[in-house]
C-alpha cells in the first residue's frame, strides 16, 4: 500500500519536473538558509573560542577598578606599582609568567605613510603569556627592557600599512613623535573578540612609561597560570595578595578585578550562539513560507488533476489511497527539497566559511533536524490539499474539464 503510493507519487513528480522543482524551491531555499546560517554560526563560535584560547589559556588579567567600564563617582582606583609586579612574581605559586602592561594610542610614521595604532608597553614575558611568536626579527633583549630602549615589534596590520611589501626589521620609524627601531614583526592573529589584534606596536614598558604615560604606573598585569595548577586557586591567592597590598579593608569591595580569559570566552561564545539562533529563526520563517508554497501548488495541482483523480476513483482507488497519494507526493517533494537544500548549504558553507575566516564545521545534528523539519512541513501542508482530493466525487471529477 505504502510502496504503491510512493511509486504513484514519484511518477506524478516525474511527469511534472519543472513544476515540482518550483514547488520545492521554497523548501530548498529555507533549508539551505537555515543550515548555512547555523553552520557558519557554529564556525564563528568555534573561531571566537579558538582566538580567545590563543590569547593564552589560563591567563588571568588583573586590572584596577571593578569590571569593564564601571564609571560613576568616587576616586579612581589607583593603578599598580612595579612593586606589585615583583610581589606577584615572588610570592605567588603556580605562576608561569607575569607581564605588566601600559597602553597608549598614537600615530606611527614611516617615510610618507602614517597609521593610527595602539602602543603596548610591556616586557618579553608578554609574548610568553600570549603564546605569541615573532614572525621575522626578534623579541626584546633583557638589556633593552632594563634600559627602556627605543625599539619596537610591530603587528601585521601596522607592517602592511606602513611598510607595504618591504621588510621593516632594522628600519627606523616614528611613533608619537619619537624615533624607534623595528626589531621584529609578529605572527598574524586576525580579528579577535576585541578588534584587530594585529593593529599594535609593542615597546619596552620602561620606554612607554618614560616618554608617553609619564609615570611608573602599570595599568594591567597578565598572569599566566602554570598548567599544573588550578586557575581558580591561583586567582584566589592573587586576589588575597592584592587586597593586602592595596590595603583593602576586610568586608570592603575589591578596588581591582581579576578576569579569567575563560570567562571572557564563555561570554563571547554565548553572544555568538544567541546571534546564530536569531539568524536561524529568521531563516526558519522562510521554511514556513516554503511550506505554504507547497500547499499552494498542491491545491492547484488537485484542481488541475481533478479528472485524473476521477479516473483513479473509477478504477477502484479508495479515498484513503488518493489522500495518501497526494500526501506522499507533498512529503516526497518537501523531502527532496530538504535534501537539495542540505546539499546547497554544504556548498555555500564550504565556500563562505573561508571568506568569513571561520572554520567549516559539519554538524550532522543540524542537518538531520533540518531534514526532518522539511518532511514535517510536507505532512502539515500536504494534508489539506490531499483531503480535498480524496473527498472528490468520481462522477463530477470525471466530467471536470
Amino acid at each position: 500500500m505504502l510502496g504503491t503510493t510512493v511509486i504513484l507519487a514519484l511518477r506524478a513528480i516525474n511527469r511534472h519536473k519543472l513544476r515540482s522543482f518550483l514547488t520545492t524551491l521554497g523548501i530548498i531555499i529555507g533549508v539551505a538558509a537555515v543550515v548555512t546560517m547555523v553552520t557558519l554560526g557554529n564556525g564563528a563560535t568555534a573561531a571566537v573560542r579558538e582566538q580567545i584560547s590563543s590569547l593564552g589559556a589560563n591567563v588571568l588579567q588583573l586590572r584596577p577598578g571593578q569590571g569593564f567600564g564601571r564609571g560613576g563617582g568616587g576616586p579612581r582606583p589607583p593603578d599598580f606599582k612595579p612593586q606589585d609586579l615583583t610581589a606577584i612574581e615572588n610570592q605567588l605559586t603556580g605562576v608561569r609568567a607575569v607581564a605588566p602592561m601600559v597602553q597608549s594610542s598614537g600615530t606611527a610614521i614611516y617615510e610618507g605613510s602614517n597609521w593610527s595604532t595602539t602602543v603596548y608597553g610591556t616586557t618579553a614575558a608578554y609574548f610568553e603569556v600570549q603564546s605569541w611568536k615573532a614572525d621575522t626579527g626578534r623579541l626584546f633583549m633583557p638589556e633593552e627592557e632594563e634600559a627602556g630602549k627605543p625599539v619596537c615589534i610591530i603587528g601585521n596590520t601596522v607592517r602592511t600599512n606602513l611598510f607595504q611589501g618591504n621588510d621593516p626589521v632594522g628600519k627606523r620609524m616614528r611613533i608619537k613623535g619619537v624615533s624607534c627601531q623595528v626589531i621584529g614583526t609578529l605572527a598574524t592573529r586576525g580579528q579577535g573578540g576585541f578588534g584587530d589584534q594585529d593593529d599594535v606596536v609593542v615597546m619596552p614598558i620602561k620606554f612607554v612609561q618614560r616618554r608617553f604615560t609619564g609615570d611608573r604606573d602599570i595599568s594591567q598585569i597578565l598572569v599566566a597560570v602554570d598548567d599544573a595548577y588550578d586557575t581558580g586557586t591561583v586567582q584566589a591567592s592573587l586576589e588575597e595578595l592584592m587586597r593586602e597590598r592595596r590595603k583593602v579593608k576586610p568586608g570592603a569591595e575589591d578596588n581591582f578585578n581579576v578576569f579569567d580569559t575563560k570567562q571572557i570566552s564563555d561570554t563571547l561564545t554565548g553572544t555568538t550562539t544567541i546571534l546564530t539562533q536569531i539568524v536561524a529563526a529568521v531563516a526558519a520563517i522562510s521554511l514556513l513560507v516554503g511550506g505554504i508554497g507547497i500547499m499552494n501548488i498542491m491545491l492547484v495541482s488537485v484542481t488541475e488533476r481533478t479528472r485524473e483523480i476521477g479516473i483513479r476513483l473509477a478504477i477502484g482507488a479508495v479515498a484513503r489511497e488518493v489522500l495518501m497519494q497526494f500526501l506522499v507526493e507533498a512529503i516526497v517533494l518537501s523531502c527532496l527539497g530538504g535534501l537539495i537544500g542540505l546539499f546547497l548549504a554544504l556548498i555555500a558553507s564550504v565556500a563562505i566559511a573561508p571568506l568569513m575566516q571561520v572554520p567549516f564545521i559539519f554538524d550532522i545534528k543540524v542537518n538531520l533536524i533540518a531534514f526532518l523539519f522539511s518532511a514535517a512541513i510536507g505532512v502539515v501542508f500536504g494534508y489539506f490539499p490531499a483531503r480535498r482530493a480524496a473527498a472528490l466525487n468520481p462522477i463530477d471529477a470525471l466530467r471536470h474539464e
Binding site: 476521477g310 479516473i311 476513483l313 478504477i315 477502484g316 484513503r320 462522477i395 470525471l398
Partner: protein
C-alpha cells in the same frame, strides 16, 4: 456460436429511482427502473439525452447509489454499501471505458494499463506481464512506451480498453466508447468489444447514440423519460 445466457442475472435493478436536488427544484432522473442483465450479455443502452441512461450507467458502475430501490450486483445489495466498499467492488469486478478515453497524460500506455493493478497491490513483475498481455489483446503491444499524446484516438481508446480488462473484470462499462472516433475506428473498437464479450466472457454494458454501434450488441435497452422504454433481444436463433 454465442454461448447461452443462463443462470441468475449478474445485475438486477428493482424499482430504482434517482432524484437530484430537493424541494421544488428536485429533478427525478430515474422513475423506477427494473432491469436484469445476464452474465455474458452484450447490452447497448440507447435513448435521447436526459432519458436517464447516464444516471443508470453511473449506478451500474457503482459510482452512484439509487435514491430508492435495490441494485443487486452478483447477489450483493450495492445500495447498502459505502463509498469505499463500492470502490473495492469496482476494483475487483468492473472495468470502465469512457468516451473521452481518460488516460493519464504524460504517462506511457503500459503505465496507464498497469494502474488498476497498482491499486490491487500486484507486484512489478505481475503488473508488467498482465499489462503487456492486455496491450497485446488490443493489438498495441509495440506501442507500450508511447504516451497518449503520441497515439491516435482509436489507439488511445484501445489502451483504455486494455486498462479496463487488465484486471479480468466481470463487467465492462463503456460510455459512448466510439463517440469521439470516425466510423472505421469505431467498427474496430466494436469488434474488439465483441471479441472480449465472446471469447473472454466479459459482460459488456455500452451506452451509445448510434444504431450502427448498437447493432453489435445482443440486447438493446431503450430509455425514455427516466424509464425503460423497451428491451430488444437480438439473439439470432
Amino acid at each position: 456460436m454465442a454461448p447461452s445466457l443462463s443462470g441468475d442475472p449478474i445485475i438486477s435493478l428493482r424499482g430504482v429511482t434517482k432524484v437530484y436536488g430537493s424541494g421544488p427544484t428536485a429533478f427525478q432522473a430515474l422513475k423506477g427502473i427494473d432491469l436484469d442483465i445476464a452474465q455474458g450479455d452484450f447490452v447497448a443502452v440507447m435513448g435521447p439525452s436526459g432519458s436517464g441512461k447516464s444516471t443508470t450507467m453511473n449506478i451500474l458502475g457503482c459510482l452512484d447509489v439509487p435514491s430508492a430501490g435495490e441494485f443487486l450486483f452478483k447477489g450483493r445489495h450495492v445500495e447498502k454499501l459505502d463509498r469505499d466498499q463500492r470502490a473495492l467492488l469496482r476494483r475487483r469486478y468492473l472495468g470502465f471505458v469512457f468516451q473521452g478515453f481518460n488516460l493519464l497524460s504524460r504517462t506511457t500506455a503500459l503505465e496507464n494499463v498497469e494502474l488498476p493493478l497498482l491499486y490491487r497491490g500486484e507486484d512489478g513483475k505481475t503488473r508488467y506481464q498482465s499489462g503487456m498481455a492486455a496491450l497485446d489483446k488490443v493489438g498495441l503491444k509495440d506501442w507500450w512506451d508511447h504516451t497518449p499524446a503520441e497515439l491516435s484516438g482509436g489507439q488511445q481508446q484501445r489502451v483504455a480498453i486494455a486498462r479496463a480488462i487488465v484486471t479480468q473484470p466481470d463487467v465492462l462499462l463503456a460510455d459512448e466508447p466510439t463517440g469521439n472516433l470516425d466510423s472505421e475506428r469505431s467498427i474496430e473498437i466494436m469488434e474488439l468489444l465483441t471479441d472480449l464479450n465472446r471469447n473472454s466472457g466479459i459482460t459488456v454494458l455500452m451506452v451509445t447514440h448510434e444504431p450502427d454501434m448498437a447493432a453489435f450488441a445482443r440486447t438493446i435497452v431503450h430509455f425514455k423519460d427516466g424509464l425503460v422504454d423497451g428491451i430488444e433481444n437480438r439473439v439470432k436463433a
